[in-house]
Symmetry: C4
Subunit: 198 residues, 4 copies
């Protein structure tokens, strides 16, 4: 099966997720001076983090399917499974924006990121299985140290939330920063592939 | 007419439908611990079911148009008719999430699924008619036992709701599970077609 | 300029417009039986009419660009102008759903439809001008009797709203029914074009 | 990397941004005559300005990528950075619609436009760098006087807001009008390029 519609549907869902979070950035009715912005500071920071995460997933999804050339039924569902967990990011972002340093949002935010990370790895594996162990995709992936590290850090963050609910945010931001750099493995491999063709 | 824009528009509508349901997953303002999640348990379960159903329709729609190569005016409207009924899923999901085991939502949810199933069959038939009785699409469809069974189960569910409004949910979940497995008929047929070409 | 992104952007906007109207179909919190549906009857009818109109515009837009092969800067803005007026349909639909038979919504709904009709004709003309008077598009359009009739009927409907705000709805529905049939002019012309090529 | 998915994702985000602003055009419940429209006059004017700005950015983005043929990881993030600032337009538009002539919204609206302008220039530069100094894109851009002028006018508008919060709106409208005309530089260059090929 060609990959076109899976990419188009995922782009649509990710574009909506990244945008509906902004619906929670409501400046209180009646406020008219710059001081009113203090009321949206915490939702704004939560929005930035959510935007970063969905941006990162879109970016990695883009790279991943760039290195793929077709899909099957299992991959469609693995992708929907990933989108399901990502679709919870706006809801947990809204909660986090209201109650940033409390146990509930700190833990649930971590759980949603953890499940997103796990389902991304499942999607990656189903793509590698479909394309074969010797495929460019497999070579490009390598050991996927970044993916595994992220999941370990989410787990640590959830555990430390019970010590102090402020600690997890340091780790959530750290993971985002690790991923902000686009995955050079695939890009390099793609360039090699292209130059080999050219 | 080429099928590209029908697919793109449907992907857009389905991506929005699957995502706006999440807007009802609002953790009550002021809640800050994990116990607050109990308040969203029932909307969350409703969200999962709605996500599954829209995911299934996207999947089947994807398979269906994969086996098609062009469309006509009737197919455009048959597709819009299907999208109309699917567009009601977020509204009935929100109601079901609030009042899960009451007659109203149990019946209306079934009715929307019933009409979605019927309009999907109408869309399928208009595609088969357009491509011809001997087309790969027709062969791939076969007798469409799954589609007919689903409609029978929705009807049964609506009837049993008047006995006890908890029964329908077992059937709604059962139909979802029947469809979760991607349609092997079309996929097999597509593979055959492709290998015949190769 | 190729027409691809104009089509993709318009599909996105129309998909969102047709879907966000459903956000107004909220069954009152606490309602649990079928009688509760009476509260959403009027918004539901308004939703059906709005869905029909946006479906019709998508359909016609699809046919129009099917017969086109490229765009220029003026066409991009003519298209945005059309999308602007169509984007007001959800807002006037919501008002109409609350106060169906009052002067305000009856007139404003007509005004938005009138402006949508006018901007559609502007878009059509800018496309014909770009493709040339002898193009397939121009031949397919003919005198555009349907488009002109619709605008006349919207004007009549607005005038009659001041007599009785129930009259316009008959006309709004009548225009929708006129358009429900996909434009056979372009479809026929496209088929001829294709068979000429084949 | 091909540019297709970057364009599709940006189209999705911009289509949503241009549409969700309309969610703030809510006629007060219970209002039924034309006088009720006065309550939405100020949000409507804010909506028109927001629609213009997002329309302009879509238009320029369209022209910019028309002249490009591939992207890299840095361009993906430069594009996300631009989309981040544009995604704040609905939130500041809502605030401006409620409190049009107060310091807070006047300044913040300008700040969001300023950052959108800056990130657009960053995106442009990363594209030019990727395509080379001698590329058609670079020649088409020229000195980018319009982009630099806009940023100067936004800065001026923010400064003058502290004198009188009504002044900035004149400048915001002026910048929109400057851009309303599609960029003839790229269009001309594209035509030349095409005719050179033909």
């Amino acid at each position: 099966m060609p990959k076109g519609r899976l990419e188009a549907f995922s782009d649509g869902v990710l574009a909506i997720l990244i945008t509906i979070m902004v619906l929670d950035l409501r400046i209180p009715r009646g406020a008219s001076d710059l001081a009113a912005l203090r009321a949206v500071l915490s939702p704004f920071v939560a929005y930035v983090l959510g935007f970063l995460y969905i941006g990162i997933y879109w970016n990695n999804h883009h790279h991943l399917f760039q290195a793929s050339h077709s899909v099957n039924g299992k991959i469609l569902w693995a992708n929907l499974h990933l989108l399901f967990w990502l679709s919870l990011i706006p809801a947990v972002t809204a909660w986090m924006g209201q109650q940033p340093f409390r146990l509930g949002p700190a833990v649930i935010y971590g759980l949603v990121l953890f499940m997103s990370g796990v389902t991304y790895i499942i999607l990656q594996r189903s793509l590698v299985k479909h394309h074969g162990k010797d495929s460019r995709l497999q070579r490009a992936m390598g050991s996927d140290a970044k993916g595994k590290l992220s999941i370990a850090l989410y787990t640590l963050a959830i555990a430390l939330a019970f010590v102090n609910p402020r600690i997890p945010y340091v780790l959530y931001l750290a993971v985002a920063l690790i991923w902000l750099i686009p995955d050079p493995r695939i890009e390099r491999s793609l360039e090699k592939g292209n130059s080999a063709v050219a």
